[in-house]
Symmetry: C2
Subunit: 202 residues, 2 copies
Amino acid sequence: MQRLQLTEIRIAGFGGQGVILSAIVIGKAASILEGGFATMTQSFGPEARGGACSAQVVIDSKPVLYPYVTNPDILIVMSQEAYTKFGPELKPGGVLIVEQDLVKITGMSQAGRVYSAPATRLAEELGKRMILNIVMVGFTAAVTNILQKESLREAVASSVPPSFRELNLKAFDRGYEYGVQALQTTPETGVDENTVKVYDGV
Amino acid sequence: MQRLQLTEIRIAGFGGQGVILSAIVIGKAASILEGGFATMTQSFGPEARGGACSAQVVIDSKPVLYPYVTNPDILIVMSQEAYTKFGPELKPGGVLIVEQDLVKITGMSQAGRVYSAPATRLAEELGKRMILNIVMVGFTAAVTNILQKESLREAVASSVPPSFRELNLKAFDRGYEYGVQALQTTPETGVDENTVKVYDGV
């Protein structure tokens, strides 16, 4: 995947995990710091009543004409429900990124690569569970090349209140670091049709 | 405007005013509490580099097929820049809602109704400037009938961290109260082609 080519991303989990903020960070990084364009769309409907939360991000080098994501190139999931619902929509060969302690992966034959990080646990180690979303963004920065690390990091800094900036940057860095380790132990591409490779621990 | 008919809303201001949260609250109110559907879309592009922030919300009784807003029925603006940029896009006969101390209205002939509230000042009186966005949502609830007051109020409660819930509900109530007063002193409809009626104080 080349930088700032049309890339469709879905981020999904449950309310309170900061799904929307992580989507905003990715969109902002594309537009403000890399000169591209992005849209972030959140749909509300009956499913929202159960507490599910999901956001769609489309990034491109030109204005985004169609902001709905049907088959994401990258799917980031932070709840089992989100995995069950959106997993089948992942584009064949796409990248699946999951919160390791919250999502149990069952056969996901179309994923080209699968990465998992214990983002909630890492966030708790940093002192605040609610920054798991930014841990996931840092992790995503490391295991994909959709955007430059520094763009995403600066977008984090400019998207949170000043008093939480340092903590969120730590979360980003921790997620990134974990992602770099994951890359060293996970095959880059190629899973058998019925095999899933999951990185599940340092 | 009947409840949960297709309604397009744009909310615009600058970063830090909570534009996105106010858009989320409106979308959530439509879907979770009134059984409808909504989308909230944020676009990122060159304009975002200047600190401008805008969100598009579409609410309907059925799933939203096209989430982009071109000519909003309701335009909520919280900065002069946003007013200059998006004012001309308001649907003829639409409702323009402005932050009174931040937006100076110049000829806006196509607006059916114009309402203004000193949301920043009201928020400061409640102790926290950053809740001006929720003051604006409460004000909007009073001067339009897009959604039921209680739906919006509950959406506020479920969209902010528990520790800020009470303050945000106060902000909503204060905005709503101000809006009710505005309605009593502003004509409901009908402005001459070159006249703008602005409610600008209790």
